[in-house]
């Protein structure tokens, strides 16, 4: 492919919204691949980001009623970085959002630690928001 491979530029933003179901996280990963390629990330960075976005979605879904609400993914080109914001909207929370000690959430956070430059998670008013930033040109390990 590729005259289109470097079309995304600083400030470009893409949004994806889909029902908050684990089996649809594949959509987030596919979109992430396409965007990373067009933002100039090499194939290893692209794979890292794809893996990380999967974890970000999982992290956002932790503790929610998985059959309710929408997962909104916003990917932004920020200079030589990509920022991903993942928000669980209108979720019916089955339980309290995943506490820090939750094992699954903790594993996702540890994986994000290894793959991206920065990440975080916020919860308020039943809405869960997790985010990450990853620069190209320097492999986070």
């Amino acid at each position: 492919m590729t005259e289109t491979a470097d079309r995304l530029e600083n400030g470009d933003r893409i949004e994806l919204k889909f029902p908050a179901r684990g089996d649809l996280i594949v959509l987030a990963r596919l979109v992430t691949s396409a965007i990373s390629a067009r933002a100039g990330f090499d194939i290893e960075e692209l794979e890292d980001l794809r893996l990380a976005v999967g974890e970000l979605c999982l992290l956002t879904l932790q503790g929610s009623d998985a059959q309710q609400g929408d997962l909104r993914l916003e990917l932004s080109v920020l200079g030589d970085a990509i920022g991903v914001d993942c928000t669980l909207e209108r979720a019916g929370m089955a339980t309290a959002p995943a506490p820090d000690g939750d094992e699954v959430a903790r594993l996702s956070e540890q994986i994000l630690d290894a793959l991206v430059d920065a990440h975080g998670r916020e919860v308020h008013d039943g809405s869960v928001h997790a985010w990450l930033r990853k620069h190209r040109g320097g492999h986070a390990e």
């Binding site: 492919m1 590729t2 596919l30 290893e44 959002p97 994986i111 630690d113």
Partner: protein, 253 residues
Amino acid sequence: MTEGREQDPGPPSDVVESDRPALDPVAREELITSNLGLAHQLARRFLHRGEPLDDLVQVASVALVKSVDRFDPERGVDFAAFATRTIIGELKRHFRDKGWAVRASRRVQELYLELGHATGTLVQQLGRNPTVAELAEATGASEEAVIEAIEAGQGYRAASIDASESEDDPMSARLGEHDSNYASVEDRALLGPALASLPEREQSILRMRFVEGLTQSEIAAAVGVSQMHVSRLLSSSLQKLRDGIGQAEAGRR
């Protein structure tokens, strides 16, 4: 609740080995055993890159042992977090050392070609076009990989578009030298406005040539002009399209 994490600048596997006393063998063994599940889970995260799970688990397990031997509790870092970073670092290094980036690109191309063969076979078997799930099963790839290969393959298909056309009238000859530029959905999105800006007669001639597949002589007869005139109209229309698309692309940048 708000939390954010900025990563440490140095990779975990570069952590200087501590001078702490080595764990006694039993404690070391227990620490390794209790974290084998973590190594396995992390190895699974790297599936679908062309490496067998067993190999990945082995890499992850060796990295776990390395983590145990390097871990210094006095640094105040949680062992699981430290091990996760070390294991992921080693898994990534494993792929890097094997030249994975080059192979991955080739793998996508190969899968795309494989999909072409599998599609042909399945169409004959099923009497209809196969689904992605069926293609995934036939090729042994994941559905996600199939979708990616199809998406990536748009570029390759554009390059070989003549393959499905007759030798004396290849599609590229009909479309002109820039045929591959119009092959993708994205490019057709650009083509639409440019096409609409052409005079109605030129749009009509282009449609007869490229949509209905009429020859220049047949168009000439239908429109009531000479074949040479049709040829000139097609050339100038295509040039206008290229110019229009070029302007649209320049406007987007």
